[in-house]
């Protein structure tokens, strides 16, 4: 009961804010990032996700400094958590005191662009805009205009234990999916004395992974048919990929089928698996942890697997291109300044900083440079060239938030549904959500 009231109060508060703000035009002009803007005495409010704080704060500070030197405006960066940032953003954007620049995950962007949260930008104002990564840039387009700027990407790779590979008599990372399975067999046999050991750590609700396997056999999640979306998971090619993933997980993984990939690096660091499938920076997260997780300046401590890890592109499996974009909010009072800041934060200088911090740059023209400048990034850069992205539907974020794919995977892995039944169920859910008016 009390909970209900809190929820109601929250809705009411956001409504109040919305009412106070009035409406804005549907057809607002494009915000330009070229030319000089005088920002003296103004402060720009920027919302970035926590990754920027933990991994490349120097890039943020440097871009802000160059921006301040050029325009005279100050920058106030606030870092957000992935777990609750959308709820917080909804409530804030309903009010009038809004952040000027907001970072969102690329699969989250279409919903907000469709709902009028961001202002249109002119891509030509930004460096490398001709070669922006497709998977990031696709999320920005709506009715012929562009509403956000690609920021960085991450591609998932196979991260593995070199010592265990050697012990099992494997010299190199697998070059094909069959080789990967053969290696997993050898690893499984070498570690069978330990009941907790599994060759591959693959949590059951890791849908980015499962969908990559679906793509590997030519399957798809959903596709557009006229103005309707149609779920594709129960199509034969998709079911084949899903089955391939489920077989692999059941045979080689000791992971909890009801967990997602959020803490996989930490669990992998316990040493009970020979490989996992993760973002490049998760290799670092598995090798070293903060002594005090609540303190951003805490010293790092080595884990059991320190110095024993390497990464390689997952053979024959296209990688999900995750990443983030930056947008200028429609309600911002400093749109031109905001666009200018994004220009500095996404230029080649900033991208070089991101490459150093193990993130993939926003442009294909920089991918090769990334691989040579930072050899640790080479597998991810290779994986990014063979990548896929979630359906470009306005309501896609609701499918993610609704845990549709996660629930399907858990149900299949625990035997509650067959692969075909699970895929059929997910298709029904996806059709309902994506086509809802």
């Amino acid at each position: 009961m009390k909970r209900k009231i809190v929820a109601v109060a929250a809705i009411a508060a956001t409504l109040l804010g919305a009412a106070a703000c009035g409406s804005n035009d549907d057809d607002s002009p494009t915000t330009s990032a070229s030319g000089a803007v005088d920002g003296k005495g103004k402060t720009l409010k920027v919302w970035l996700m926590v990754d920027a704080q933990t991994s490349w704060k120097n890039v943020v500070d440097d871009a802000s400094k160059r921006f301040t030197d050029a325009t005279g405006a100050q920058v106030n960066v606030e870092y957000q958590q992935w777990a609750n940032h959308l709820t917080k953003l909804d409530a804030t954007l309903a009010g009038s005191d809004v952040p000027d620049v907001v970072e969102l995950g690329n699969s989250e962007f279409p919903k907000y662009v469709f709902s009028g949260a961001f202002t249109a930008i002119n891509p030509a104002d930004y460096e490398n805009s001709g070669t922006w990564l497709q998977g990031l840039n696709d999320a920005c387009g709506f009715e012929g205009k562009s509403y956000c700027v690609p920021y960085y990407a991450g591609a998932r790779v196979l991260i593995y234990r070199t010592d265990l590979f050697k012990k099992a008599g494997i010299a190199d990372a697998p070059k094909s999916y069959d080789e990967f399975l053969a290696d997993a067999d050898k690893l499984q046999a070498a570690g069978k004395s330990d009941a907790k050991f599994g060759a591959v750590y693959m949590p059951g609700q890791y849908w980015y992974s499962a969908m990559s396997w679906v793509k590997s056999t030519g399957g798809d999640i959903a596709k557009q048919d006229g103005d309707k979306w149609v779920g594709q998971l129960s199509q034969p090619a998709s079911v084949q990929g899903l089955q391939r993933w489920v077989d692999m997980v059941k045979k080689y993984s000791k992971a909890d089928p009801t967990k997602n990939e959020n803490d996989q690096a930490g669990i992998f660091a316990q040493g009970e698996a020979a490989a996992f499938y993760g973002n490049t920076w998760e290799q670092g997260a598995a090798e070293q942890v903060k002594k005090d997780p609540n303190d951003p300046n805490s010293p790092l401590v080595d884990t059991k697997v320190k110095g024993k890890l390497a990464s390689a592109a997952m053979p024959d499996v296209p990688s999900f291109l995750g990443g983030s974009n930056l947008g200028v909010t429609e309600k911002s009072q400093n749109k031109q300044l905001a666009a200018q800041w994004i220009k500095y934060f996404t230029d080649s200088t900033s991208m070089a900083g991101l490459i150093k911090a193990n993130a993939l740059p926003n442009s294909t023209s920089l991918l090769d440079k990334a691989a040579t400048d930072n050899p640790g990034l080479a597998p991810a850069a290779a994986a990014a060239k063979n990548s896929w992205f979630t359906p470009q539907a306005e309501k896609w974020a609701d499918v993610e938030k609704g845990n549709v794919l996660q629930t399907m995977l858990t149900d299949i892995l625990t035997g509650k549904k067959s692969v075909a039944d699970g895929a059929k169920w997910a298709d029904d859910q996806i059709n309902t959500i994506l086509n809802e008016s």
């Binding site: 009961m1 909804d90 709902s115 000791k254």
Partner: protein, 326 residues
Amino acid sequence: MSVVESPTTRRTGGSTPHRAPGRARRTRRNRQTTGLPWLLSLPALILLAGLLGYPLVRMVVLSFQNMRLRELLSGRTPPWVGFDNYTKVLSDAEFWRVVGRTFAFTAVTVVVSVLVGLGIALLMRRVTRGVRLFMIVAMMFVWAMPQLVAAQIFRWITDSDFGVINYFIDKLPGVDYQNHSWFVNPWQGWSVITTLVVWAGIPFLAITLNAGLTQVPKELVEAATVDGASGWQTLRNITLPILKPLLIIVTTLSVIWDFGLFTQNWVLRDGHPEPQFQTLATYSYTQAFGQSRYSLGSAISVITVLLMLGVMAFYIRQMFRIGEVE
């Protein structure tokens, strides 16, 4: 206030209609009631109207509109859709599964926690003072723990990779509980949630009922014992009838708390409960804030409040009936 007093007032008036003192007392009281009490309760009433009344009205209004993210961000009035949200919710099989689950959970949890609470309260009357003190202090600690913290700790205890429960069960000979996941099987998952809620609910029940038990006159119990009544008979015919009003109140409160289950299943499922772990509270929250179906979430909340009122009306009537008998 007037509701609580009315039965008594009516009774006094009815049984002694012609007695002057009674009438005089009543008039005096009436005169006093006119201004001051209302004035004194005004701040509280304004607060209640602002913090409860206004959002409640907005919620009901919202449930007849179709507010999505676009309307929320632009501030435009959402389109009116009449009873669409309600028909959508009520014709959704998933919603009825959630309702059934919420009711079943409430029934099981309330029965178990009241019975165990009563058992512990009775035990507390039997043990020595030192042990009783220890029990009270131990339960106070449980009671003082915030729900969120308790739920988080239970999540760690039952974690499939690091959980201490699996570790200990696995130590039993012939049992393999390594990497056992407690939330694959909904019955197991719900046992964990129920254990947590019962565990956290018992201190209030036991301590309150223990206080109630001290009010059972010793002479009555002694007399019954002298007359040859067994312990069970004494409990059924003397202790429980005296405890009944208190039992009904604590049961009612437990129903209210357990029906609104949110924190425990939310945290144990890491902020994204699977369909089989949704209750009405988490379901409406997920719909409203997770999927930006603010109006649909409001409709679910309104229906929840109505369902709850139906259950509560019975108990409240019961409570007044007790008041009248005494």
